[in-house]
């Protein structure tokens, strides 16, 4: 069945202030996203610190395509399709590792250099006089053309349509700068492993929730009430355990979240918590502040540390937290299944406490055993089921809608405004239809 063949069919799903439930439910739309949307947008692939030495690789699937990020002999990074040019076998099947000086296919032992160029094949004489050299199979592994390592965060665009990296992200890259500049030497390393969750909901639902400030009071009531009950009676100046420092602020009221403010950028990106966030209250460290001031100057150091947004979204796959230095990657698996990865970062040149905060936050909030996320996950899966009900085909994004918001590229708003989600859906339509006929 093909219901969404034309641009107009897609555009009709996203109105000014609401979206059609099909965007979450429909398998044909998911297939079109794989074909169009993820080919036209820049997706986060991995971090350069995951492939420190020549021959190190990271295998990732993006929009159904098996990809390999490989550290080259000259120190550069390439991204190849993880596919033997012969019959299509994946060259590596581990998530990460080192291939040494070349790739060798486990099936017929065709070999390739680290950049994917063909190196050798067995029974070479059998190919004399054939057209192998002149066709795709003779040219080796296919490399992606559009790969950018921005301050070690590696992004790819699968197709040739869609904007270049700088025009796609623009000022939204400030979120990555803020994160990396927290290191006096300007370097982050992924460490401590990844927490992987599979959630039975559409990826856009998860992404919307990253920008949703109205749910914590009701969704997380059980966790924050339990935390408050255990912590009450403590003197105001009692040192809070890290877990309490991180969980208690989830219980902040509507007014707090409204005042934290948000900003949207073109192409679906956003920052929530431009004024402050639930992460602003973490205890400061004098020595670390001094080291940052020495590295960046007092003014820039203060700017970096004062800015602790709730979430910065590099649409559509990456959600960053400057403090605690952590990020989530959204990997869609099916219309109703999404893989979420939560990564921790060690900030080079900073106290170990920062890394501890990163790991603790991820464990408390994004682990499959999290006390906070259970209620989120339950509600995402509930929505995915509830939307199948007849009678109302639409999901409301009305909060804060103002016709004057059209035509604005970058806009600052109150923190509970659903424009952050409307902005995502407008970008979704744009990149879904960019390479479609008519």
């Amino acid at each position: 069945m093909t219901r969404f063949r034309r641009r107009a069919d897609i555009a009709a799903l996203v109105q000014d202030d609401r979206v059609h439930r099909d965007v979450y439910l429909n398998e044909e739309l998911f297939a079109l996203e794989q074909q169009h949307f993820f080919a036209n947008t820049w997706s986060y692939l991995g971090h350069a610190s995951q492939v420190p030495a020549a021959g190190d690789y990271l295998a990732v699937e993006i929009a159904g395509r098996p990809l390999l990020m490989v550290r080259q002999g000259d120190g550069g990074i390439r991204v190849l399709y993880n596919r033997c040019a012969h019959k299509g076998s994946k060259l590596v099947s581990d998530d990460c590792g080192s291939t040494g000086k070349f790739f060798r296919c486990p099936y017929h032992a065709w070999t390739y250099r680290l950049d994917g160029a063909p190196l050798a094949i067995p029974l070479k004489s059998g190919y004399e006089g054939t057209r192998l050299k002149d066709c795709e199979s003779g040219r080796g592994m296919v490399a992606l053309k559009h790969v950018v390592a921005y301050r070690d965060f590696v992004f790819v665009k699968i197709g040739d349509a869609g904007p270049d990296f700088e025009s796609y992200f623009g000022d939204a890259l400030g979120a990555i700068d803020n994160l990396v500049d927290r290191s006096p030497v300007g370097r982050l390393r992924i460490e401590g492993g990844v927490l992987r969750n599979v959630i039975h909901c559409n990826w856009k639902m998860y992404l919307e929730n990253i920008n949703d400030t109205v749910h914590p009071m009701s969704t997380h009531e059980s966790a924050t009430q339990a935390a408050n009950a255990l912590w009450q009676g403590q003197p105001a100046d009692a040192p809070k355990p890290m877990a309490m420092e991180q969980i208690l602020p989830f219980g902040a009221g509507y007014d707090f979240f409204d005042r934290m403010g948000g900003r949207i950028y073109p192409n679906g990106h956003s920052v929530l918590g431009i004024n402050f966030s639930i992460h602003s209250g973490y205890a400061q460290m004098r020595d670390y502040e001094q080291a940052l001031s020495d590295a960046h100057g007092v003014e820039r150091a203060a700017e970096i540390l004062q800015r602790s947004p709730q979430n910065s979204v590099c649409f559509p796959s990456l959600a960053l937290k400057g403090s605690p230095q952590a990020f989530r990657v959204i990997r869609p698996l099916a219309a109703d299944r999404t893989l979420i990865e939560a990564w921790s970062l060690r900030v080079e040149g900073a106290p170990a406490l920062l890394f501890e905060r990163s790991m603790t936050y991820n464990r408390l909030v994004f682990s499959p055993m999290s006390v906070v996320a259970h209620d989120d996950v339950h509600l995402f899966e509930n929505m995915q089921e509830g939307l199948r009900g007849e009678g109302n085909d639409w999901v409301s994004l009305h909060r804060g809608f103002d016709p004057a918001e059209f035509g604005q590229t970058t806009l600052e708003v109150n923190g509970t405004n659903e424009i952050l989600m409307r902005n995502q859906f407008r970008a979704w339509v744009k990149f879904m239809t960019l390479s479609m006929q008519d």
Binding site: R196, I247, R363, V371, D375, V377
Partner: protein, 161 residues
């Protein structure tokens, strides 16, 4: 190790699992020493005890109490419908301890099943208990849960494997 002490240790492990299956969480928490820790390392049995790697859960008594308090709340949305669990334990093996010391370490292979509504989750692995024998009885200093697949993409695990 005399048979009587061994029996006592093994009974303790079985009793602990029964309390969890019966959702008698307050009594379960009381089995932990004041400095007790419940730890589900992200690399399972391969993980060193040096804090360099994350965990699915790494909780002291305060966090375990938070988890238990939350489960009692009618607003714990993920518990509508509620989860239930069952631990299936192999015979524990005593890996450390003799009659002169109050510390014991035991390994217990297990299968853990958690159900909620139509969903069923199964985890397998090995417990490593570090117990201390005190005048009031045995207490847990460490319950380390080494899963077979701790790095896999897991759905929500709501109770205590």
């Amino acid at each position: 190790m005399d048979a009587q002490t061994e029996r006592r240790l093994f009974d303790f492990i079985a009793h602990e699992a029964r309390l969890l299956d019966a959702q008698r969480f307050d009594e379960w928490l009381a089995l932990f020493a004041d400095n007790g820790r419940y730890w589900v390392p992200l690399r399972g049995g391969a993980q060193a005890d040096d804090g360099s790697h994350n965990a699915l859960a790494d909780e002291d008594r305060l966090l375990l109490a938070l988890r238990i308090e939350r489960l009692k709340s009618p607003r714990a949305h993920s518990q509508h419908p509620p989860s239930s669990c069952q631990h299936i334990l192999q015979q524990p093996a005593l890996v450390h301890g003799d009659a002169r010391t109050p510390h014991y370490e035991l390994r217990t292979p297990f299968v853990y099943i958690e159900v909620r509504g139509e969903r069923q989750l199964m985890l397998a692995g090995c417990y490593r208990h570090r117990l201390i024998d005190r005048p009031g009885g045995l207490r847990i200093e460490l319950k380390r849960v080494d899963l077979l697949n701790p790095g896999a993409t897991l759905p929500a695990i709501q109770l205590f494997p």
